[in-house]
């Protein structure tokens, strides 16, 4: 009954899913932190940019962004991100799209974390003469990150599920494989169950473990 699975690279597809998720997670964590810094910072222009970026990107479907990276960036403007073969190009474009989209949510998660830091902390930091950069880097962000583990976990889980959108530009990840298997095999329920199980295995433990970590590291107030 499970024989047909041997004809397909199930683990390989899910490995691509994991790679997409991890690379995008790292990228969007960096870009999202920068955006959050801009959004709470003292420079009006950067504040405006951060707010505009988040509001625009959050309201565009991820599918539109991913499809645009392929049709617009690659096929029209010839941006190939330094890759030669189409498969690598699509993979990198998908990561770029996922980073652009997810960082808006990372920014919001961090901002909600910054809001949990009591006003007194920032006031005390300013009182001993720290500059904005130092206040953020030494006092506020370390506490904010600890409070943001919960919201960031949700972003990471959403990101893991969102990697399937890369199927729209033909990246060989789990959803692409699922489509392919359904077309070739008459085992709809079994195939769906296997793919679904794969995602449950990826997302549920992430939620449980990081949820536990989040509670551990959160600053008790």
């Amino acid at each position: 009954m499970f024989d047909f699975l041997e004809d397909y690279d199930l683990l390989g597809a899910f490995w691509t899913t994991v790679q997409l998720a991890l690379l995008s997670a790292v990228g969007s964590l960096i870009w999202g932190t920068l955006l959050a810094g801009m959004r709470v910072g003292p420079v009006p222009l950067m504040r405006g940019f951060g707010t505009a970026y988040v509001n625009i990107v959050r309201n565009i479907p991820l599918t539109v962004i991913i499809l645009f990276t392929s049709l617009g960036l690659y096929q029209t403007l010839n941006v190939s991100l330094g890759a030669d073969d189409v498969e690598t190009v699509n993979f990198r474009l998908a990561v770029l799209g996922l980073i652009a989209y997810t960082s808006a949510f990372v920014c919001e998660a961090l901002r909600s974390g910054i809001n949990t830091v009591p006003v007194g902390q920032a006031e005390a930091a300013r009182a001993i003469g720290l500059s904005f950069g130092q206040v953020l880097r030494l006092v506020v962000l370390p506490q904010a990150f600890r409070a943001s583990v919960g919201p960031l976990t949700n972003v990471l889980i959403a990101l893991t599920k969102n990697t399937t959108v890369a199927a729209a530009i033909g990246v060989a990840e789990a959803a692409t494989l699922m489509k392919e298997m359904i077309e070739n095999e008459a085992q709809l329920l079994l195939i769906s169950a296997v793919i679904a199980l794969g995602f449950v295995i990826l997302t549920l433990p992430t939620g449980l473990i990081l949820g536990w970590v989040g509670k551990k590291v959160a600053v008790k107030r």
């Binding site: 420079v43 940019f49 949510f105 919960g150």
Partner: protein, 300 residues
């Protein structure tokens, strides 16, 4: 909060901020210039490619409007089906009976852990194999199936959070005047919970509208995004122009929904007639992820 992070600026800080502004605008301008010149090189800024959207109504009436209609239709149908379903599962998770509570919890956790796209692909094959839905209608059915399965489970969590957000005194008072369990739920808790979770429901609608685009990209559902594809074929590869127009429409719809949700939330929080219990628009992101959330009760 942001103002508490930095002092009123003295001369040095002001100079530094001006420096940052200059550097940042220079970087932004360089990026803009690169975008502009690349677009120009590829001839994507030719007026011919943008003309269909600004002169005449053909592009709007033949491509954009039908696509937008399908997007909104799929979103509306999904919401209408998912709401009652979500309410049933949300209430079931709060049941006193283990044999109702646990299966409901498993279903909700399962569908929250799976990508919508997987559910849609499953739906498409399901309708193709086991029903006689015509192949024209199948994408819509599949999109709605996927959206309903996923969003019903998220809405179930919203409903549960909404009911839990009410002060305990509400159900205690209801029990004290002798109402039965189902009366407490039906007459006291649900009506108030519905109000409390309105902002969350509206912002879930944004998620649904965005997810319909998956149907266009992967399932040949002719919605707004796929109309951008068709247009760029028809009007001579105006990919950039078509995508810009479509993205602006999405932003317009979703931004108004988001603003409406936060307006509702503010109104409910300030309201004097209610308990002030609210499931905020921001809670949606949390409730959409699988796993038990300790702070479901803190969403007030």
């Amino acid at each position: 909060m942001s103002s508490v992070l930095y002092d009123a600026q003295g001369p040095r800080a002001k100079r530094r901020n001006i420096l940052y502004t200059v550097v940042f605008s220079a970087a932004a301008l360089a990026l803009l210039w690169w975008v502009f010149s690349t677009l120009n090189d590829k001839g994507q800024l030719e007026w011919v490619l943008w003309k269909p959207f600004f002169t005449g109504t053909e592009a709007w009436s033949t491509y954009i409007w039908p696509g937008l209609k399908n997007t909104l239709e799929a979103a509306a149908i999904s919401m209408v089906i998912a709401l009652p379903l979500g309410a049933v599962f949300g209430i079931a998770r709060l049941s006193d009976h283990v044999w109702i509570r646990v299966p409901a919890a498993i279903v909700v956790e399962f569908f929250r852990a799976i990508p919508v796209l997987v559910l849609m692909i499953f739906g498409l094959a399901l309708f193709a194999e086991y029903t006689d839905v015509s192949s024209d209608d199948r994408p819509l059915y599949a999109v709605v199936t996927g959206l309903v399965l996923y969003n019903a489970s998220v809405l179930a969590e919203i409903v549960r959070a909404g009911i839990l957000s009410l002060p305990r005194g509400q159900s205690e008072a209801a029990q004290a005047i002798g109402l039965r369990k189902n009366q407490v739920m039906r007459l006291i808790l649900l009506p108030q919970a519905v109000t409390a979770m309105l902002p969350a429901i509206v912002s879930q609608l944004v998620v649904i509208v965005k997810d319909t685009a998956l149907g266009g990209a992967v399932l040949t559902f002719s919605e707004l995004l796929s109309s951008a594809n068709t247009m760029s074929g028809y009007y001579g590869a105006n990919v950039i122009a078509s995508f810009t127009v479509v993205a602006v429409i999405y932003i317009g719809i979703n931004f108004s929904l988001t603003s409406f949700a936060s307006w509702l939330e503010g109104r409910l929080r300030r309201g004097k007639k209610s308990t002030g219990a609210v499931v905020g628009a921001d809670a949606v992101a949390e409730l959409a992820a699988p796993g038990e959330h300790e702070d479901v009760q803190k969403t007030t």
